[in-house]
Amino acid sequence: MRRLVLACVIAWLAAPAAGHAQLRPPPSDAAISRALADLTTEDADRREAAVTLLGKTGDPKWLGFLGALRDGGVYAWKSGGPGKTVPQVVVGGAKSTRGDREFIEIQSPYELTPLGAVAVKDLVEVSADRRLRLTIKPFLDADETRAQLSDRDPAVRRGAALKLGNQAQATGAILIQEALRTEQNGWVRHDLAEALALIQIAHGDPAARSAAVRSLGELHAWNALPVLRQLAAHAAASRDEREAAVTAIRKIERWSFLTDSIETIFQGLSLASILLLMALGLAIVFGLMGVINMAHGELMALGAYATFVVQNWFRATWPETFDAYFLVALPVSFLVAAAVGLALERGVIRFLYGRPLETLLLTWGASLIIQQGLRLWFGAANVDVSSPRWLSGGVPVMVGLQLPLNRIFIIGLATVCVAGMYWLLFRTDAGLRIRAVTQNRGMSACLGVRAGRVDAMTFALGAGLAGLAGAALTQVGNVGPSLGQNYIVDSFMVVVTGGVGKLAGTILAAVGIGGLNKGIEPALGAVFAKVVILVAVILFLQRRPAGLFANRGRNADT
């Protein structure tokens, strides 16, 4: 059989557009009934030949029959009617018991026409031994792969192509040929071509192999590297092949360096967005009131848990629109955190105005209470927040580089938040008042700005942004009571580095710290990257003690 398929591939290589699969003539009825009869015999070779014949038809009905055969659902019916010497092959269905006798509903093999119930004693199971099952398997697998190759989801089609390439079985070439004829999506076509080249390396002649190796180099096929390395070091390979392989490897490696660099930059940007989302709320409150809100991390955790609750509510109430839950969770988490922030500000923080260190301790106390409250209410273990379908998976950007959708979403959300903040601060009356109080509280109050109210609203806004950040974090990390603690010190560093009261400083600091972190993480590991950043921030503060963009003024205390 192997040789036969090999011959098929070689024929196909000679005439790649010939459309081999469709030209295959279907076997005659006589051949099929002979094959069915062979199945009931004891001769293993004849049984195998019969299965191969049926499998090669590629007919879904015969493949269904082979599946039934593998699962032990095919019988030989001895009393196949008067005058019949050869037992008839049937497919068994539901079993039933009448009195002390067992009956099985049987059907004809291809059309599946019901033939009535037959006593078990009249049937002999056509047993599928290991050898027969192994013969059946490739046909069924090929069928499954074919179904995947025509799936609606491009990711499934790419997965099938990848599988075919990894298996590198000659049978796969036919499937790929078929798929390439109809495939429109460029990424899937790319993967199919890659798989085809891998199959050619495994089964083609030297010339075809060299061509395949070259095309793999052109395709920047990262997955093919082990095969190519093997080929480059293979003693039996021709010089041409080896040289082609070395060139291809170099090409692929250069490409992967490029994709790695882009990925690192993207990761840095994504971390920077997370830091920015968290630091934004901290920074405006710090700028306005001189208060570092130590409970900021717990407000984020509240936002994350609000997302969790909304998710569960959707799952219970509207399971059919489950994917929309996240759109509802975003405003809900904002409002929940903002409400708690407002209560905190009106309830306690306003009494400590002008005493930043006391406020720091107070908010730390609040953070402990919120954290422990969450732990008692939701349990100490992490809770499960599942991504909506439109946020899972990734977007292929270039060969070998897929950017995860959830990270892209976070970058987008951070951008929107920053833009919204700029709009609020510089285009609205409320923003004007916030800026006025930030610059000179006493003077603003004299001019009729209600500073207390501005404080409360700004604090609520900052808290709401924390809630939003928490909701976003559910898509990239674990949700637990100590969610806030993991990032909070980093976002403090962003605020300190960025300086007071300037959004641009916060943005620049977030990008700098996020980028630096991801840039040195591969070399030093996550822990020492954090230490390096602390040292860098301390050294940076040597040059600019009040952060990147300090407010210039005549007050000696700032």
Binding site: F286, G290, V291, I292, V348, F351, L352, G354, R355, P356, L357, E358, T359, L360, L361, L362, W364, G365, A366, S367, L368, I369, Q371, Q372, G373, L376, Q485, V489, F492, M493, V495, V496, V527, F528, K530, V531, L534, V537, I538, L539, L541, Q542, R543, P545, A556, D557
Partner: protein, 375 residues
């Protein structure tokens, strides 16, 4: 120091350093017997109190809030712990001259920085010098660039986080997450004997007394007056021609050394030191001891450290879930309602009673700790 105060200090020191150990040495049937467990617990509290004194000096007097003192405590404790680990010698589980965790981590040779800790003298020196030098370096960089107030608090918190992360790593050869434990002897005395523990307790109590006297001397000196001035208006001190950063650096180093000494006394009494004692939460808990006791009063730091920890050891045993809630409430309550802490509250109460009976002394007797730390 007035005679009355000398008498008070001597009285408390005698109770702590003499009476309690004597009661502990009584036979167990005696109604006045203090159990080994209680004495050991007190030893731990008094070690904490030494640290709290230093923190109070820094925060209550100079107005510098450090959220990273767990690091200095840890440095002292690890320095002592390393010596104790080496004293175990081949009596460990693996009968190797190396500490057990090194055997697990397949370290074959004692790392270079461990070697000097074989000497007891070097260890005693390191307990003071390592936190002191590290504090000097950190403080030098921070104060020179005029990092102050909230900025300084945040930077020290980041220091605590970084140190915690680093001490958790096995590459550092300091036992990773499990820290240093299973000590057998200290300077040759077996740690599992009550007499050794009693001795350690007495040393702790005496060190606390000495630390108190040192801090008291500093606060009453000219430099101490300047520290308070810096707390109240650093800029004005600067414009008067002083260099506030030097005074702040000095007091920061002193408090780092006191924290290190506290750690070194803590490690042999508790028998284990892990990175969990270094992190962000333990560091900030230390601040709440001082706040609860009453900052700006040295006695307050001691009272706070002992009472909060006493409460903690009782609550975590009886109601483990409640402890963090309580701690949070304590933070908020002290800041909102008792800004001058327990000592301040008692002082005010005494004052009120005096007024009631017409025994009032002239006003402005006690310093207002509240007015201090503001912009």
């Amino acid at each position: 120091m007035p005679t009355r105060e000398w008498i008070a200090v001597g009285f408390v020191a005698t109770i702590l350093a003499v009476v309690l150990p004597v009661l502990n040495a009584l036979p167990a049937e005696s109604p006045f017997h203090v159990s080994n467990f209680t004495l050991n617990l007190f030893g731990k509290f008094l070690a904490y109190a030494i640290l709290a004194l230093g923190l109070d000096l820094l925060w209550g007097y100079a107005g510098v809030l450090s959220l990273g003192h767990g690091v200095f405590f840890g440095l002292g404790a690890y320095a002592m712990g390393m010596h104790l680990m080496l004293e175990i010698g081949a009596r460990g589980v693996y009968q190797s001259a190396l500490p057990d965790f090194m055997v697990w981590n397949q370290v074959t040779e004692l790392p270079l920085f461990w070697k000097p800790f074989r000497s007891s003298l070097f260890t005693l020196l390191a307990v003071v010098a390592v936190p002191g030098l590290f504090g000097w370096l950190f403080g030098f960089l921070a104060f020179r660039s005029r990092v102050r107030g909230v900025y300084f608090a945040i930077i020290t918190q980041a220091l605590a986080l970084s140190a915690w992360l680093v001490f958790n790593r096995n590459e550092l050869n300091l036992g990773g997450t499990n820290g240093l434990a299973d000590f057998k002897t200290i300077f040759g005395f077996p740690l599992n004997q009550a007499a050794t523990q009693r001795g350690l307790y007495v040393v702790t109590a005496l060190t606390l007394t000495a630390s108190y006297l040192l801090c008291r001397w500093i606060t009453r000196s000219r430099a101490g007056k300047l520290l308070v001035a810096i707390r109240d208006s650093e800029t004005r001190v600067l414009f008067c021609g002083y260099a506030p950063e030097n005074y702040k650096l000095f007091v920061f180093v002193v408090s780092a050394i006191l924290a290190g000494v506290a750690g070194a006394l803590y490690a042999p009494q508790v028998g284990i030191i892990t990175p969990a004692k270094i992190g962000v939460l333990p560091s900030i808990e230390m601040v709440v001891w001082v706040a609860a006791g009453g900052r700006g009063t040295l006695v307050g730091a001691i009272v706070g450290a002992v009472s909060v920890n006493w409460l903690q050891s009782w609550l975590t045993r009886s109601y483990p879930d409640v402890w963090l809630l309580f701690l949070g409430a304590l933070f908020m309550g002290v800041v909102l309602f008792f800004p001058d802490g327990l000592v301040g509250a008692v002082n005010r109460l005494v004052e009120r009673v005096r007024t009631l009976f017409g025994l009032s002394r002239p006003a402005a007797v006690h310093a207002d700790a509240r007015g201090g730390i503001s912009r």
